[in-house]
Amino acid sequence: MKIRNTGFKRAKTIDISDAFGIAYNETNTDNNITTSGLTKAYRNFKAVDSLTISVNPGDIFGFLGPNGAGKTTTIRMLCGLLLPTCGNAKVAGFDILKDNLKIRSVIGLLPESSGFYNWMNAEEYLLHFAGLYKIESLLARKRANDLLEKVGLAAKAFAPIGYYSRGMKQRLGLARALINNPKVIFLDEPTLGLDPKGQQDIQKILLDLNHEREVTIFLSSHALSEVSFLCNRVAIVNHGRLVAQGTIDDLRRLAMGSSSDIMLEIRILNSQPSQNELPNVLSQFEYKTSISHDNRFIIIAVAENSFESTNIIIEKFLKAGLCIYDIRRQDMSLEDVFFKLTEATARKNKNKANKKNGDYLDKQQDYGPRHQTNPSHFQTNGRKEEQQKQQKKIDTK
C-alpha cells in the first residue's frame, strides 16, 4: 500500500507494507543521531553545554546522567520540542533546525511523563494519532490493534484511558510512540513505575524493534541495569556536559584508569589467611578483602590485563600454601562506571569553583570511597601514584 506524503522533498513515497515491519522507503536511510556543540542556555545557567555525541544507525544508545544533568532537555531539542541556543544536531539525517517537520515524521518519543486524553479509549487514542500522522484509516486500525497486542493492552483496548494504571498508560505511550513506525525512538525513563513484568515486556519490545527493524533507540534511564542490558553504546552527561561516551567496555576502561587493568576475584579454600600473609603474597598488587555470604574469604586484586600477572598471582598463592578455590575476572559494573565518571566531573567542577573562590582544595582530599570495586580505593602497594595520574587523565577528559 502506498501513501503519498508531500512532506518529504527527497523521496515522496512511503511504502507501508505491513503494520509493524515497515520502513520508510525514502532515499535518506540514515537512522543516526549526531550533535555538535549542542547547547541550551537559560537565563542564568546552561542546561546542556556544548554536547557532542554520535549515535550510529541501529544502536541502542543509553543516555545517562544524574537528575538535572540535561538529559530530557537534550531529548527535547533532538525531537524539535526545544530550540537549541547554539550548536546543531541531526536526527535521521535531518537538521533539527531546518527539517523540524521531517524529523517529527520519522521519530517517536516516549516522554518521562505524558498526558493522555482520558475520555478516549486506547484504540481511539492510537487512531487519533495515526490520523495526525496521516496514516490511511484501514492501515491505522490494523497497526493500532497490532501495537495494542504487542504492548499487552489488547484486552483493555476499549476501556477509557482514565481508568488505566500508570503502567498501562506507559505501555500506551510506547504504542503511541510507535504508531508512525519511527526510524528513531527516544525513550525517557520508559520503565519508570512499571512492575518487573512490565519492565521486561518493554525491554523485549525494544529489543525486537531494534533487531527486526534496526530502529535506532535513544534511551535515557536511571535504571543502570536496564541500560547495561539493552544498550550497546552509552553516553554519560553531568551538569549538561558530556562526561564520556562509547561502548560500556570503553567506559569501563576509562573509569578503571588504565586500559590494561583488570580486577581478579580470588576465593581461597583455606580459612582467613594470617595478617602478614596477604601483604607478602600480593606485594606487587593492590587488593582488598571481604567475606562472601557463604563465609568464604574473598580477595579482589587489581592486576595488569595479561596472562602473566594472573599466573604470577596463582603461583604466589600456591607458594604461600593458599589453595585457590575459584579465580575469576570481575568487571566493573555500569553503576560503578557511572559513579566513578560522574564523581570525577563533579570533583573537577568543585575544584574549579574553589579555585575561583581562592579556596583551592587538594583534589584527593574530598574524594571519599563510594564503591567496593572502585580500584582507587584499594590498599596501595606502590601503585597509588600511577592511579592518581590516571585519575587526573579522566579529570582532564
Binding site: 512532506g7 541550551k40 537559560y42 542546561a47 537528575n67 538535572g68 540535561g70 538529559k71 530530557t72 532537555t73 527535547r76 525531537c79 524539535g80 520540542l81 526545544l82 530550540l83 517537520l101 521531517k102 517529527r104 515524521s105 521519530i107 517517536g108 518519543l109 516522554p111 518521562e112 511523563s113 505524558s114 498526558g115 493522555f116 486524553y117 475520555w119 487519533h128 494519532f129 490520523g131 495526525l132 500522522y133 496521516k134 503511541r176 525517557d188
Partner: protein, 254 residues
C-alpha cells in the same frame, strides 16, 4: 487534515457536561426574551430596542465564552501533559493553533444557531428579523475570531490556564465596559468617547443600535463601524501569526 479539530470538538461534546453551556445559553436567551415581553417597564420598549437588547446579550455572551474557551485550549493541554505528544506529530505548530481556533468557532456557531430563533421571534411583525440575524452573525463572527485569536495567544504564552483565562476575561471586560457598564454621562466624556472610538465591541453595539433602533439597515451605512471591528481582528491575527510560529515546551528538570 482536520483531525485535531475533530478531536477537539468531539472532546468538547463527549458528555452532556460539554454541551451544558448550550442549555445555559438557551436559558439566558429565554429569560431575556421573557422579561422583554412580560416585564411591565421592559415591554414598553419598542420592538427594535428589544431586539437590540437581545443582540447585545448574544454578542456579550459570545465574546465571553470564546475568550474563556480559547484562553484555556492550549494551556490546559500543556498542564495535562498532552501537548508535547501533539507537538511531536508532523503538523506545523500554527496549523495546530488554527485547528484549535476552529473548534472555538464551533462554540460561536452553536450559540448563534441557538440565538437565531429568539431573534426571529422578537422581530416578528417587523421587517427587522433578517437584519438582526445578519448583523449579529457578522459582528459576532468577526469579534469572536479576534477575541479568540488573542485569547489563544495568551494560552500559548502563559502556559497556565488560570493566568490565561484571567487575562483574557480582563481584556473582555475592558472591551465590554463602555457599552454595558459605562453610564451615559461617562460615555460623553473625552475618555469615554476615545474608548468608544477604539473599542471594536462598542462599534459593534453602536452599529446594532443604528440598524435595529434607527432602522439604518444598509451595509454602507455601517461602514464606519465595520472597519474598526475588522481592524481589531486583523491586529489580533497578526499577533496570532507572530506568536504561534513555534511553540516551545519547558525544558526538563528546570
Amino acid at each position: 487534515m482536520l483531525e485535531l479539530f475533530h478531536r477537539e470538538v468531539s472532546g468538547s461534546f463527549y458528555s452532556w457536561h460539554g454541551a451544558a453551556w448550550v442549555v445555559a445559553a438557551s436559558f439566558i436567551f429565554s429569560l431575556v426574551a421573557y422579561l422583554l415581553l412580560t416585564d411591565m417597564e421592559l415591554s414598553l420598549l419598542d420592538q427594535g430596542e428589544m431586539l437590540f437588547t437581545l443582540a447585545e446579550v448574544i454578542i456579550a455572551l459570545a465574546i465571553v465564552m470564546s475568550a474563556a474557551s480559547a484562553s484555556s485550549i492550549i494551556s490546559s493541554e500543556i498542564e495535562s501533559g498532552t501537548f508535547e505528544s501533539l507537538l511531536l506529530t508532523p503538523i506545523a505548530h500554527r496549523q495546530i493553533a488554527i485547528q484549535k481556533l476552529l473548534s472555538v468557532l464551533v462554540i460561536w456557531a452553536l450559540l448563534y444557531a441557538v440565538s437565531v430563533p429568539y431573534l426571529l421571534v422578537l422581530a416578528s411583525g417587523t421587517n427587522l428579523g433578517p437584519a438582526a440575524v445578519f448583523y449579529v452573525g457578522l459582528y459576532g463572527t468577526i469579534l469572536v475570531i479576534g477575541v479568540s485569536l488573542l485569547s489563544l495567544v495568551f494560552s500559548v504564552k502563559m502556559k497556565s490556564s488560570k493566568n490565561s483565562i484571567m487575562t483574557a476575561l480582563m481584556v473582555v471586560l475592558i472591551l465590554l465596559a463602555p457599552s454595558l457598564f459605562f453610564a451615559t454621562s461617562l460615555k460623553k466624556t473625552e475618555f469615554g468617547l476615545a474608548l468608544e472610538n477604539v473599542n471594536p465591541v462598542s462599534h459593534a453595539i453602536n452599529s446594532l443600535d443604528s440598524v435595529l433602533v434607527d432602522n439604518e439597515k444598509m451595509i454602507f451605512q455601517q461602514v464606519n463601524h465595520i472597519w474598526p471591528i475588522i481592524g481589531f481582528t486583523l491586529v489580533c491575527t497578526l499577533v496570532f501569526m507572530i506568536f504561534t510560529k513555534h511553540f516551545e515546551v519547558k525544558g526538563a528538570d528546570q
